[in-house]
């Protein structure tokens, strides 16, 4: 009967998209796990290890991530036009990944990791499977959340010029975000939190500046900061 035939067909389709989702989730779990290890190794920066030392493990993991996103792209390639149907299953993992990459990028270049650069780092060149803009932006907000802690620990380690640089960077990023008309959603909430990061970095900068440490710091203390003063 047509009713049965219809449901049989549904069954195939649902099983199909179910197993697809399973595959996606498995890759997403691998991404989560790689990002977690990466995050954990980046945390050593707070203990003033030198950047090259800290980056060694992290950089290796980028290779793993590229591979995993490649897998995702491949899977989605089987379902043209359904990127946004399954997108929710790897969103939050991707946001974390972006935040880590952007933090590393800042440490190396003192500039913001651009969207195109992030895509490139993850090997996402194809138009079909890119980095969603909102995910990228949320990732940047997450990175911002880590900066106050970084600045505090750098100053404690004697790197007195760090607050100034981070403040400049964060002020610029914050100003750039303000240009956007954000909907009243998750991203907006995350961005609203960025102003607390900014404020905290300003306070640290103030603490350093008012004691005249900025001058001293630059000349006398280079400890624990491999490539950066």
């Amino acid at each position: 009967r047509s009713l049965e035939k219809q449901f049989q067909e549904f069954r195939h389709q649902l099983d199909d998209s179910g197993s697809l989702r399973e595959r996606i989730r498995s890759v997403a779990a691998d991404i989560e796990s790689a990002a977690r290890v990466m995050h954990s190794s980046l945390l050593l920066i707070h203990q003033s290890r030198s950047i090259p030392e800290v980056f060694k493990k992290a950089k290796a993991l980028i290779g793993v991530l590229i591979e995993l996103y490649g897998k995702l792209a491949e899977i989605m390639g089987e379902r043209p036009g359904q990127y946004y149907r399954y997108h929710g299953d790897w969103r939050s993992e991707t946001q974390t990944v972006v935040s880590l990459l952007a933090f590393m990028h800042w440490l190396e270049t003192e500039s913001l990791l651009l969207h195109a650069e992030a895509e490139e780092k993850l090997g996402l060149k194809s138009l079909e499977f890119g980095l969603d803009i909102e995910d990228y932006l949320v990732g940047i907000c997450f990175m911002s959340n880590d900066l106050p802690r970084y600045v505090v620990n750098q100053v404690t380690a004697g790197n007195y010029d760090c607050p100034r640089k981070v403040l400049k960077f964060l002020t610029d990023v914050h100003a750039a975000f303000r240009m956007l008309n954000l909907r009243n959603d998750f991203l907006r909430k995350k961005f609203d939190g960025m102003k607390y990061d900014l404020r905290r970095v300003e306070e640290v900068h103030y603490d350093v500046k008012i004691r005249g440490l900025t001058m001293k710091g630059n000349s006398t203390e280079k400890q624990g900061n491999g490539g950066r003063s």
Partner: protein, 252 residues
């Protein structure tokens, strides 16, 4: 209701079978569960007392305070953990885990805290379990704290270490505070990798958030001591050599 039908008979036979099994469950296990819960509660309360004792530490009474704390900790094992072990002996540890887990976690918290203050290192699970082994009747399987309870206890330990660090900074013991800071950072990093693998991952996730807060509280305290101290570093050491940074004793 004395009808002699077979099903009902079967069931009353079944019910007498329950006297062996279900009443074993409801009496033995339920009441055992009750008793285990009570024993666990006592372990918790007395471990908390040990932790409280450790927080009495100050610059000049360290040995004295820790000695007392260790004695109290030993008493927790002798009096309360041993009771717990006795209750648990011969039953399935995992089945009753929920009943005793809170006490065990708190004991881990107390034992690792004492040990850190004394040695500056982490007391391992193996060490703890080795110390518990003598409590059990050798004929039955001894109580061994499982990894999960140990890790949950460690997660709470970081909160106590934070309180300790803040206190130590007030007392001028900067180095001790910094040592705590590194230690807590390390535990946080290690647990971060382990947290999602645990049986009770969502509990652990909230604990991780609290832990990060603790780490940052210590870091912020170290930061403010540092910038304050840095301000006059050139003048320090010359004029006022015995002026320890932020130490209380100089008053008067």
């Amino acid at each position: 209701d004395s009808d002699p039908n077979p099903m009902r008979n079967a069931f009353s036979k079944y019910a007498s079978y329950l006297n062996d099994l279900v009443l074993f469950l409801s009496v033995l296990v339920n009441e055992k569960r009750e008793r285990v819960v009570k024993a666990s509660r006592d372990v918790t309360m007395n471990s908390k007392k040990v932790i409280f004792q450790v927080h009495r530490i100050s610059k000049n009474n360290k040995e004295e305070v820790l000695e007392k704390a260790e004695k109290d900790l030993a008493a927790v094992v002798d009096q309360y953990i041993s009771r717990l072990v006795k209750e648990l002996q011969g039953t399935d540890f995992w089945k009753l885990r929920r009943a005793y887990s809170p006490g065990v976690q708190e004991y881990v918290e107390a034992a690792t805290l004492c040990n850190f203050c004394k040695t500056g290192a982490l007391l391992n699970l193996d060490q703890i379990n080795a110390s518990l082994r003598p409590l059990s009747d050798p004929s039955v399987e001894p109580l061994q704290i499982n990894v999960l309870d140990y890790l949950l206890g460690l997660a709470d330990l970081t909160g106590e270490l934070m309180r300790l660090a803040i206190g130590r900074i007030s007392d001028g013991e900067l180095e001790f505070a910094q040592k705590i800071c590194s230690f807590v950072r390390e535990i946080h990093r290690e647990l971060m990798l382990i947290a999602p693998k645990m049986d009770d991952a969502s509990d652990m996730k909230t604990k991780m958030d609290v832990m990060l807060q603790s780490v940052m509280k210590i870091e912020n305290a170290c930061f403010s001591v540092h910038v304050r101290g840095s301000e006059y570093i050139p003048f320090l050491g010359s004029e006022d050599t015995n002026f320890s940074l932020l130490g209380v004793p100089e008053i008067e």
